[in-house]
């Protein structure tokens, strides 16, 4: 018997990125990664920047980087509201790497003096860049 599937939509403010039947989703929750399979209890969760893995119902895995957003599942319909989402193969690796380096430099150089906002921003940028690189399979751990 094939694994039970459920419907998943992944939307960003700009487009519908993914829509289809899937057997499982692994998403980056704010308190760590979580997995969702069919018949999950209704849930709303906030997402942090990270890698979203989707197992399609017909086999085949889709990997993408999200930079935060929300996840909702109820009645075997799940939806990811991502701030931005990019499929692994769409990711511009050199650019992500440059962004990662830039954010890291900023964090290293400025941590003590500058106001909190900048640090928060740099940290968020670092996380986003790391998520991209990770999704693209460029680094093992962020």
């Amino acid at each position: 018997m094939p694994e039970k599937s459920f419907h998943l939509d992944i939307v960003t403010p700009e487009r519908l990125l993914f829509s289809g039947e899937v057997t499982s989703v692994v998403a980056p929750g704010v308190k760590g990664y979580f997995g969702v399979m069919a018949n999950h209890q209704p849930m709303i969760a906030a997402l942090s920047p990270g890698v979203l893995r989707v197992e399609g119902a017909g086999g085949g895995q889709t990997v993408m980087a999200v930079s935060g957003g929300f996840f909702e599942v109820s009645d075997n319909r799940a939806i990811v509201l991502a701030d931005t989402a990019e499929l692994a193969q769409e990711i511009d690796v050199p650019r992500a790497r440059a962004a990662w380096q830039r954010a890291k430099d900023r964090l290293m150089g400025r941590l003590k003096t500058d106001e909190k906002l900048d640090v928060d921003r740099a940290r968020a940028a670092l996380l986003r860049a790391a998520a991209r690189l990770k999704a693209a399979g460029q680094i093992k751990d962020a």
């Binding site: 700009e14 849930m43 709303i44 509201l81």
Partner: protein, 292 residues
């Protein structure tokens, strides 16, 4: 009476103008389609966001969030969304006039403006309004990040308590033929409607949700996104309105040019006839004179 050559030259000029306005009309139509596609593409996100707010609201009894905070009004911020370019009928004029009217009607002493689009920036700068920040108009393909910058500027103004309320003047897109300038209250956000939660206890709609993190925190992260999304939508709608207005204006201009060409052609033909008649007369009268 202008000479035949003058009229012909004029016809050529008008024809050139006609071609340009026709091209602009086509471009505006194509852009409008693109913007509309973008609005449609963003719809699922917008709807779902609204839905999530609805789920969360009943679980949060005391909503406290800086974006919801109602303060006594000492300063008001107004965002005016207009275009960068002219040649779009009265689009810019309408929205600027509407915004100015609204500004003059405000009783608070402190009025701060954020202008989007060169036309509104220039207008309000010239007239000595306090323009806090200005942005160029967003293009059809403007990335979401760019819009986010604008959203941050607007919410920043409110969160830093520089202003105590924010209004947005934008142009509602009714159809490609009709656009309506509007001013809406934007911040503080009206608390999400709890749509008569008291009425229904726990029937069908009230699923037992797991919240991760707890509902109040979740709502706090949701609100800024909601604000961003609304601004995104208002900006796109204004852009759509502009292209609609431009399309109409350019259609009219093209029609007028066609009309003018018709009239000028008639005048040219008349002038040509007149000159032929004159020449004939000269030849005939010359021949008559020789016979004499």
């Amino acid at each position: 009476m202008p000479s035949l050559r003058d009229i012909r030259r004029k016809i050529r000029t008008v024809n050139n103008i006609k071609q340009i306005t026709q091209a602009m009309k086509m471009v505006a139509a194509a852009r409008l389609k693109k913007v509309q596609d973008r609005v449609t593409a963003g719809k699922p996100y917008a709807e779902k966001l609204q839905e999530l707010m609805g789920y969360l609201a009943p679980h949060v009894t005391q909503i406290q969030h800086p974006l919801l905070e109602v303060r006594p009004i000492q300063a008001t911020g107004v965002v005016v969304i207009a275009g960068d370019k002219g040649l779009c009928g009265s689009y810019n004029n309408n929205i600027i006039r509407r915004a100015q009217q609204f500004l003059n009607g405000l009783t608070v002493s402190e009025k701060l403006l954020i202008t989007i689009g060169r036309k509104s920036t220039e207008f309000f700068r010239k007239r000595g309004y306090r323009v806090h920040a200005s942005f160029p108009q967003i293009g059809v393909d403007a990335p979401y990040a760019e819009i986010k910058r604008i959203a941050d500027a607007i919410t920043g103004l409110y969160l830093s308590q520089t202003v105590d309320e924010v209004y947005i003047a934008y142009t509602e897109f009714v159809s490609s033929l009709q656009q309506r300038p509007q001013v809406i209250k934007f911040l503080p956000i009206e608390p999400p409607q709890t749509e008569t939660t008291a009425g229904r206890g726990t029937p069908e709609g009230a699923l037992e949700y797991i919240f991760e993190p707890p509902a109040p925190e979740l709502l706090a992260t949701l609100l800024p996104r909601y604000v961003e999304q609304r601004i995104y939508h208002l900006l796109l709608e204004s852009v759509a309105s502009e292209f609609g207005a431009r399309m109409t204006a350019m259609t009219n201009a093209t029609d007028n040019a066609g009309e003018l060409i018709k009239e000028l052609t008639l005048a040219a033909n008349k002038a040509r006839q007149a000159s032929i008649t004159k020449e004939l007369l000269e030849v005939v009268s010359g021949a008559e004179a020789l016979k004499g």
